[in-house]
Structure formats: structure tokens, C-alpha cells
């Protein structure tokens, strides 16, 4: 008898949740008045299909391929430099954020890190374009700002979880806290920090590509430009370059991480 009661109660909660969810979904569609019914007509579908097909075949003239290659290198550089800057800044912030200098510093730094990573990369890029002008440098700075928030938190957690005995032993032997950190704690956490950074690079290569939409150079800026002029075939080349670049960085990062864990 008791079981029936409980099962019934759980079911009601489930049903209630599902009903609420359904209402929210329907409300969303209604609010947006998307006119998706418009989309489902044969005409619009055909239009959309025609539009999507107009992307093929991609533009492969030598001049354009060269231009795309240039932009690819720019995007690659933005992601790499951005991630590097982020890792350095994150390590700096992770030290107080792991509680080494007291709980007040910890709370303050954690707040700053949260702020940094809450703002999406694209908004950072729009801000950095103001601060540093159009071009890939703004993109690198934007990635650095956002990623240092993400990495800073991961680094802080790694530092907090690192064994404290080696550094403590060195302090007992009279070493300065900084030296004790370098000789006692860092060797233990360094592989983990590098692994996080490499993982973040994989994500950043995709972000770097699209930061160009707000003027941060690279493949993104090219894509925005071509689509604005409705140059679909050129846009297709750029998109393919983006996909290939992402695959390349994924492979590189995986290789480096395997080398790290084996070394």
C-alpha cells in the first residue's frame, strides 16, 4: 500500500514537470512567432535547399586558396597565443585562488576568475577590438581573457588537490615559500596543468575561427565578409578550412597529451 502511494507521488511530480516543460516549449515557439510553418512549405524548403547547394563546389582558385591559407595561419596563431597567454595569467591567478594567501584573497580571485569566464569570448572580442583595434591581436586578447577564467579555476583546483608534503618538507628545511612551491608542488601538478591547457586549445581553435565575426581577423572575418557579399562558394572554402584546422589542432593536441603522459 505504501509503495503504491510513493509511486503515485513520484509519477505526479514527473507529470507536473513534463507539463511545465511542454508549456514552456510551446510558449517559446509562440513568443518567437518564428513562422516555422512558413519554412515547412515546399517552396521555402526548395529555396533553402537551393541556397545550401549554392555553396558547392567550393572556390579552389590558387589566389583564393592562398588567401585562405593566410587566414588559417592567422587563426591558428590567435588560438595558440591566446591559450598561452591565458595559461600564464591563469597560473598567476590560481596561486591566490587556491588559498595560499588566505581566504579573502581566495574569494576575491575566484570572483575575478568567474567574471572572466562568464563573459563569452565573442563579447570579449568585441571589447578587445575597441581596445586594440581590428585584427587578430584583439582575438588573441579575447581568448586570453576568457580562457584565463576557465583555466584559472581548473589550475586552482589542481593546486588545492596537490600533495602538500613535498613543499612542507622544503619549508621545514628553510626554503622560501616560492622555492618550496617550485621544487615541491609544481613538479606534481605540471602535467595536469599542461593537459588542461592543451584541451582548452582544442576548444579555442574553434572559437578563434569565429571571433573574426566581430572583426578579430582570421578565417572568421573572411567568412563574415564573404557571406555578407553572398559569395557562397568562397564561404564554403573558408568553412572547409575551419573544419580542417580544427581537425589538425585536435590531432596535435592529442599527440602532445599522449607524449606528456608517457614521458
Amino acid at each position: 500500500m505504501n509503495l503504491d502511494h510513493r509511486a503515485l507521488r513520484i509519477c505526479t511530480k514527473c507529470l507536473f514537470a513534463m507539463a511545465l516543460l511542454a508549456t514552456l516549449v510551446v510558449a517559446s515557439f509562440a513568443y518567437l512567432s518564428l513562422g516555422l510553418e512558413r519554412l515547412l512549405t515546399i517552396d521555402t524548403a526548395r529555396e533553402l535547399a537551393r541556397f545550401l547547394l549554392s555553396f558547392f563546389p567550393p572556390e579552389v582558385s590558387q589566389r583564393y586558396l592562398l588567401k585562405t591559407a593566410n587566414a588559417t595561419l592567422e587563426t591558428l596563431a590567435v588560438s595558440a597565443v591566446g591559450t598561452l597567454l591565458a595559461a600564464a595569467f591563469a597560473l598567476l591567478l590560481a596561486l591566490p585562488a587556491s588559498g595560499r594567501y588566505g581566504s579573502v584573497m581566495r574569494a576575491c580571485t575566484r570572483f575575478v576568475l568567474n567574471l572572466l569566464r562568464s563573459v563569452p569570448e565573442l563579447i570579449w572580442a568585441a571589447l578587445m577590438v575597441l581596445a586594440a583595434g581590428l585584427g587578430p591581436f584583439a582575438g588573441a586578447l579575447a581568448l586570453a581573457a576568457h580562457t584565463s577564467g576557465v583555466l584559472g579555476r581548473l589550475f586552482a583546483e589542481a593546486l588545492e588537490n596537490a600533495p602538500a608534503a613535498p613543499a612542507a618538507a622544503l619549508v621545514e628545511a628553510g626554503a622560501q615559500p616560492a622555492a618550496a612551491f617550485l621544487y615541491g608542488t609544481l613538479p606534481n601538478v605540471l602535467p595536469q596543468l599542461l593537459s588542461y591547457s592543451l584541451y582548452r586549445w582544442e576548444i579555442n581553435i574553434r572559437m578563434a575561427a569565429i571571433l573574426g565575426f566581430v572583426g578579430a581577423g582570421g578565417l572568421g572575418q573572411m567568412l563574415y565578409f564573404e557571406l555578407s557579399l553572398l559569395h557562397q562558394t568562397q564561404a564554403c572554402t573558408v568553412i572547409i578550412a575551419m573544419l580542417l584546422l580544427a581537425a589538425l589542432v585536435d590531432g596535435l593536441s592529442a599527440m602532445l597529451r599522449r607524449w606528456l603522459t608517457s614521458a
Partner: protein, 282 residues
């Protein structure tokens, strides 16, 4: 008793064997870093150029006080609701896309696991196709899809919803498949061997076991979709992002500040709601 072994002068000039590889790695790193800095046009001095300093100073200066006029706040509220609606609608479509993909994927696998039989080869082909589809769907960031759809369908939330549906659909399908694959298949296999249809075995055998994990991931993805909707607004897909893009293009720091604060609050609330939902439904 062994006497102390004192190192003789023959070994006095021992070198660190790791030194060579470290030096090489350092040189390689420099050789790689230099062109990277050049290609990314790394010029920290640019930050202090008068023109840029003036621009950012004026913009940041406008941050305080943020625009709190009732009219603008109403505008912002409307955009926020629009953003939430885009995220929710996009996620529901993504879910609708993900379900058949997951079923196809997992069905194929269940059959493959049981062994060869009628329809086995067809299932393998289906499996490969669906996997390939998922990979290519996930390859492009949603922002690129959003830009394409804005060009195709015009400015507005429709582009954002469709972009979310396609990219998140692929993402959800992949993770759902992983969850189902790693779930305990005992119940499903029992049903299959007892002669039930494959879909029924999936629904009654596998699903209850994996349901809470699936729900948890979906709610988490909805939170990400919310942030993505804001970002997509920058390319014209409506919502808070489009509003912020307009404010920034007009260098209106006050408006941008308000929107930024509202965005951060939205993320905070969504985070809390999502955590509560995940705890409650799990």
C-alpha cells in the same frame, strides 16, 4: 664495512643528460612561437596607442552609470525573454532531431552486439552513416550555422533556433548514444531474448536506467544553449546579443553595461535553475 666512496676527478665533469633535449625543446618552442606572434600581430603597445585608449576609455567610462531608464530596461527584458525562448525552442528541436538519431545508432549497436542475422549488415551501414552525420554536424560551430541561416532566412530568432537545433541535435545524439551504450544493458538484452521488438526493448529496458543521466545532460546543454543564443545574437539572430551588438556599434557604454549585467544575472539564474532541476529530477 664499506669506506666512503669519494667521487674521483675522473667523474668530476658529469653533465646533465636531459640538458640537450631541454635546450632543443626550448629552441623549437622559440622557432614556433616567433611566427605565431607575428601572424597574430602581437603588439602589446597597441593597447596603449592614444586612439585605442581613447576609444576604450570612452566606452568603459560610459559603463557607469549604466543605462537604467525604464524604456531601455523594458527593451532589455523583452530581449532577455526572446533569448530564453530561442534557447528553449532550439533545444526542443534539437531533442526532436537527436531522438531518431540516437535510436538508429543504439539500435544498430544492439543488433550488432547480439550478432549477425537478418538486417545486420543494413544496421552496420546505418550506424556508419549516422555516426558520420553526427561528426559533420558537430564539426561546425553553431555560430557559423547561425550566420549562414541569417543570410538565408534574414535577421531574427529563426536563424538562431535552427542553428541551435542542428548543432545541439548532433551533440545530444552523440552523448545520448554514449550514455545508452555505457548503461547496464542487462534488462534490454533479457527483453530482446524474450522476443520483444528492438524499439520496445530500448524503451523499456535501456531507457529507465539511463533516464536521469540523459535528463541531467539535457538540462546542462540548455544552459549552454542560453549562452550560445546570446552569442548568436551578435550575428543577427535576435535576443540580448543582437541588442548588445547594436549598443556596442553605437559606442553606447551605458547600454552595453546594463545588458552585460543582465546577461551575467541571467547566467547566474540559469545556473541555479539548472542545478535545482538536475537535483530534483535525478
Amino acid at each position: 664495512m664499506q669506506a666512503s666512496i669519494v667521487v674521483t676527478t675522473a667523474n668530476a665533469h658529469r653533465f646533465d643528460p636531459a640538458a640537450r633535449s631541454r635546450a632543443t625543446a626550448f629552441v623549437v618552442a622559440l622557432l614556433v612561437l616567433w611566427p605565431l606572434l607575428v601572424w597574430s600581430q602581437f603588439h602589446p603597445a597597441l593597447l596603449f596607442e592614444t586612439r585605442n585608449l581613447a576609444a576604450i576609455a570612452q566606452f568603459l567610462g560610459g559603463f557607469l552609470p549604466p543605462d537604467m531608464s525604464v524604456e531601455f530596461l523594458r527593451h532589455v527584458m523583452r530581449s532577455t525573454i526572446e533569448t530564453v525562448a530561442i534557447a528553449t525552442a532550439g533545444m526542443s528541436l534539437a531533442f526532436l532531431i537527436a531522438v531518431p538519431l540516437t535510436v538508429a545508432n543504439t539500435r544498430a549497436l544492439s543488433i550488432a552486439r547480439i550478432g549477425p542475422g537478418p538486417g545486420w549488415r543494413m544496421s552496420r551501414v546505418l550506424h556508419v552513416i549516422s555516426r558520420g552525420l553526427l561528426v559533420s554536424l558537430r564539426g561546425m560551430p553553431e555560430l557559423v550555422w547561425a550566420l549562414v541561416f541569417v543570410r538565408a532566412l534574414g535577421l531574427g530568432p529563426a536563424a538562431g533556433v535552427l542553428a541551435l537545433a542542428i548543432t545541439y541535435g548532433g551533440m545530444l545524439a552523440k552523448v545520448y548514444a554514449e550514455i545508452l551504450e555505457s548503461a547496464d544493458t542487462e534488462a534490454a538484452r533479457v527483453l530482446l531474448q524474450a522476443g520483444s521488438g528492438r524499439t520496445l526493448a530500448l524503451v523499456y529496458g535501456l531507457l529507465p536506467v539511463a533516464a536521469s543521466e540523459i535528463v541531467s545532460y539535457t538540462v546542462y546543454r540548455w544552459e549552454c544553449a542560453l549562452r550560445a543564443s546570446v552569442v548568436m545574437g551578435f550575428v543577427g539572430a535576435g535576443g540580448l546579443g543582437q541588442l548588445m551588438d547594436q549598443s556596442m556599434k553605437m559606442m553606447n557604454g551605458a547600454e552595453a553595461a546594463t545588458i552585460l549585467v543582465v546577461f551575467l544575472l541571467l547566467v547566474l539564474v540559469a545556473d541555479a535553475v539548472s542545478a535545482a532541476l538536475r537535483r530534483g529530477l535525478a
